[in-house]
C-alpha cells in the first residue's frame, strides 16, 4: 500500500465485570455493565486518540443502541471532534469493521468497533462471547505500523445470523462454517503475504464467530512469533481490532502482523510495526484489563440484559431526555464542557451565564474538561432511586483545577467509596426512557 496512510495509534477497552461460576461459565466472561453499550465502550477505547488530526470517524457494531440515528454522532460528540469531521455507522459484523478500516485508509480516520454480545442463558454465545471495544487511528505522519495490504473474500453462508428484533442469535453447526471459512482464510493470508513479498507473518491473529476457526487459528495460518485469536472470546465487530490491539501491546519493531477475520468470508489486514510502536502503545494494555475486573452475580447480569425482570424500587420511571435541551446543552452532556468566568476564573459545571462566585453576567468562556479528574467531597448510596441496577452511588466531585459537580458512580462498589477518593470520568448511559438513551458522564474510580 502506498497511500501514505498508516496506523497512528490504537486503543482497547474491556468492561470491568466478569461472569463467574454461578452462571455456569468457566473462566471469566467479560461483560459490559448495565450502563454501557457499543457507543460508550467505543468512546472509552478511543481515549487519547481523538486529540490529534482525526479526519473521519467510523463506528462499527453488531449491537447498535440506535437505528435511524447515527450512533457515531454521540461518539463524535463525546470525543469532542469538530463538526467538520464526518462520522458514520457501519452496522453488521466484523466485516463492517474492515469496511471502516478501508474507509479510513482513504484519507485517514478513526475506526471504532464495539459490541455487547448477548447469548441466550446457557448458550455458547453467553459462555464464550465477550463485550468490548477497540479503536484504530489511521492517518498521515509518523506511524506505529505501516499498512502493507488489505484483502477480502466474500461468501454467502448461513453460519451465524440474528433476527434484528432480538438480542440473541443463532448458529449452524460449527463444522459447516469451519469448512466454508478455512480455505478463505488461507487464501486471504496467501494473497496478502504474496503481495508483500513475505512467506509468513511474524504475528498472526485469526478471529471469527465460528469457534472451529478460532480453535484452529494457529494451524490455519501460523505466525513466526505468535499465533493468536480473540483475547476475550467472540466480541463481534470489535473482535479483529481487540485481537490486533493485544498484539500491538507486545509486538516488537519491524514485525509483520497479519489480522484475519473469518465472517461471511474472510477479511485480512497486513501491517508492519515501526520503531515508534514501543513509545506509543496503548496506556491500557488488553492483558492488564483482562486481569482486572470483578464478578457480577448471574441474576444481576441477566437483569442488565433484559433477560430477567427484577422488582424495582417503588419510584416513577425517569422522563426521557428531551431533544431541544439536549442539543442546547450538547457540549456539556456529551463533552462535559463547562464555562469559566473570565472575571474571576470560577469554573461552572454545567456551564452558566451568571457567575456563581462574582455574579458577572455573560463573562464566560467555554471550559474544556477533556481530562478532568478530582476527589470525592462527599457521597451517598441511594437505595430508593430508580436504576436498572440499584443501589445508585452518587458522589460530589471537586475537580483538580476547580469546579464541582454531582455525578453517579460507574461500576460502583458501594462499600469501597470514601471521601477523598480519586475519580475520573466515564461516558455512560444514565438510563433509557422512551427508547432514548440518556448519555452522560459518570465518575469512575481509576
Amino acid at each position: 500500500m502506498s497511500t501514505g496512510i498508516g496506523i497512528l495509534g490504537y486503543g482497547a477497552y474491556l468492561p470491568s465485570y466478569r461472569l463467574g461460576s454461578d452462571s455456569g461459565v468457566r473462566g471469566r466472561r467479560v461483560v459490559a455493565s448495565f450502563d454501557e453499550d457499543a457507543t460508550t465502550m467505543a468512546v472509552e477505547a478511543a481515549l487519547g486518540l481523538a486529540d490529534g488530526d482525526v479526519r473521519s470517524l467510523w463506528w462499527a457494531s453488531s449491537t447498535p443502541p440506535y437505528l435511524d440515528k447515527t450512533n457515531a454522532a454521540a461518539a463524535h460528540a463525546a470525543l469532542r471532534l469538530p463538526a467538520t469531521v464526518p462520522a458514520a455507522d457501519l452496522i453488521g459484523t466484523a466485516r463492517s469493521t474492515f469496511a471502516a478500516i478501508r474507509a479510513a485508509l482513504g484519507d485517514g480516520g478513526l475506526v471504532l468497533a464495539a459490541d455487547v454480545r448477548v447469548g441466550k442463558p446457557g448458550s455458547l454465545d453467553e459462555k464464550a462471547g465477550g463485550d468490548g471495544a477497540a479503536a484504530l487511528l489511521l492517518g498521515e505522519g509518523d506511524a506505529i505500523a505501516d499498512v502493507l495490504g488489505v484483502a477480502s473474500e466474500t461468501v454467502e453462508v448461513l453460519d451465524r445470523w440474528r433476527d434484528p428484533q432480538r438480542t440473541t442469535g443463532e448458529q449452524w453447526e460449527e463444522r459447516f462454517g469451519f469448512e466454508q471459512y478455512a480455505d478463505r482464510v488461507r487464501a486471504v493470508a496467501a494473497r496478502l503475504l504474496d503481495g508483500a513479498g513475505l512467506t509468513e507473518a511474524d504475528h498472526v491473529v485469526v478471529t471469527s464467530g465460528n469457534a472451529g476457526i478460532t480453535k484452529r487459528a494457529g494451524v490455519l495460518v501460523k505466525g513466526a512469533l505468535s499465533s493468536t485469536s480473540s483475547p476475550i472470546g467472540f466480541s463481534g465487530a470489535a473482535d479483529p481490532l481487540l485481537a490486533l490491539a493485544a498484539v500491538l501491546d507486545v509486538a516488537g519493531p519491524g514485525e509483520s502482523v497479519l489480522v484475519l477475520s473469518a465472517v461471511d468470508g474472510c477479511d485480512g489486514l497486513l501491517l508492519r510495526t515501526t520503531d515508534l510502536l514501543a513509545t506509543r502503545r496503548s496506556v491500557r494494555p488488553v492483558a492488564s484489563q483482562l486481569d482486572g475486573g470483578r464478578a457480577v452475580p448471574y441474576p444481576t447480569y441477566l437483569s442488565w440484559r433484559g433477560l430477567l425482570e427484577r422488582e424495582l424500587p417503588r419510584r416513577p420511571e425517569p422522563d426521557r431526555p428531551a431533544g431541544p435541551p439536549s442539543s442546547r446543552a450538547g457540549a456539556w452532556k456529551f463533552g462535559f464542557a463547562g464555562s469559566r468566568c473570565t472575571e474571576c476564573g470560577f469554573l461552572h459545571l454545567p456551564p452558566l451565564r451568571v457567575c456563581r462566585a462574582c455574579s458577572a453576567v455573560d463573562a464566560m468562556e467555554p471550559a474544556s474538561a477533556a481530562d478532568l479528574h478530582g476527589t470525592v467531597a462527599t457521597f451517598t448510596v441511594d437505595r430508593l432511586a430508580h436504576s436498572p441496577s440499584p443501589p445508585v452511588v452518587d458522589v460530589v466531585v471537586d475537580f483538580a483545577g476547580g469546579g464541582r459537580t454531582t455525578l453517579e458512580v460507574a461500576d460502583a462498589d458501594a462499600d469501597a467509596m470514601a471521601v477523598g477518593a480519586e475519580v475520573g470520568l466515564a461516558f455512560r448511559r444514565l438510563f433509557t426512557a422512551g427508547a432514548v438513551h440518556n448519555y452522560f458522564w459518570k465518575a469512575v474510580v481509576r
Partner: protein
Amino acid sequence: MASNGIKDAVAIVGMGCTRFGERWESSTDDLLLDAVGECLTSAGVARDDVDAYWLGTLGSGQSGLTLSRPLGIDHKPVTRVENYCATGSESFRNACYAVASGAYDRVMAVGVEKLKDSGFSGLLRADPPSDGTAAELSLTAPAAFSLLDPAYTAKYGVDPVAMREAMTHVAWKNHVNGARNPKAQFRKEVLREAIEGAPKVAGRLGIFDCSGVSDGAAAAMIVRAEDAYDYTDRPVFVKALALAAGPMRGGLDPAYDFTTFPEVVHSAADAYAQAGITDPRSELSLAEVHDCFTPTEIVLMEDLGFADRGQAWKDVLGGDFDLDGRMPVNVDGGLKSFGHPVGASGLRMLYEAWLQLRGEAGSRQLADPRLALTHNLGGRPGGCVSFVSVVGNQRG
C-alpha cells in the same frame, strides 16, 4: 436586610388542620373542605365573608380552581402558589401580605397535598423537559440530605457513632411528641433500637430517619391586627415572614461543605431582624422546623442559631430540644410524625404554634409560650428555598 417586615400588621384568628396520614378514604377535595371548614368555624367567619384565598400545593392540582371548584367559591380571587417543600408557608406568607397591603380584610391561606394516590415512595418531581444530566433528577431526597451526615462528622470530628445516636434522638424525640398528637400520622413512640436497626434508605439514613409520606391539609384565617380581637380573644400576631431562595451555588462550589444551609441562615437573620429578636435561644418559646430527615434537624439547630456550630449533635443528645428541654423543637411531632404533604406542612407547623400560643395543645402544652418560630425548607443541601416565620400571642 432588605425586608421591611410587617411586624404586628396582621394576625391569625382561626386555623384548621386535618388529621395527617394515609387518607385512602379522602380526596384532595375532601381534605380541602375539612381544613377550610374547621378554619372558618375556628375564626367564626362565614365562607362568603372571606375576601381572597391563597392555595399552596406542589402537585395535587393547578390554579385557583383547585380550591374554588370543591368549595364552590363564587368568583373570589384564589391564587395557587408553589415553592417546593415550603409551599404551605408560601401560601401563608402571600396571604399575610395581601391583608397587610390593605387590599383585603379577611384572607385564608390554605395548603393541601394528596401524596398517597400515586403509589410511589417518597415525593415525586414534575420536572420540565431537560437534557437529563441534572443529579437531582435521579438522586432522591433522602440521598441528597444523607450527604449532611458524613460531611458534618468529618468537619467537626464527631464520632460517627455519636452522630448516629443524635440522629436517632431526633427521630425518637419527634415520635414521642407525635404520640401525644391526635392529628399526627404516626402516634406511637418508637424505640431507639428500632430506629437504628431500620432498613437503610440512603447513606446511613434508615426508614425512621425519613419523614413519612402522608395526605393532609391545613388553613389559616388572616385579618388586620387591629381587627383581630373582633374574632378571638387570643389572636396570634405575625412578627416576621422571611424567605430566601439560594443561588444553588453549593453544588458547583468546592467551598461548600454540606454542613449548613446558607439559605436558612439568611432567612433566619431576616426574620429575627423583622421581629426584633436578638437572642433567639432565650426569646423563642418553641420552634417547628423542617425535620425532613434527622440530620437536617441537627444542622437546622445551628443554622437557626439554637446551637453553636459543631455543637448541635451534643445539644440534641443532651435533650435541649425535647418537650421539656431549653428550646422545645417540633413539639407536635414534626414531619417525622406527620409525614410531609408538601403544600400542607408549613401551615401544619403554624397550626402547632397557634395551639401552643393559645394554650390549646393538650398534653403537649408548654408553660406560657410567647413567641414561636416555624421553619420550612424546599430543595436540598447546596440549593434550597428556606422560609422562617415568627408569630406571637402579644401585639407589640
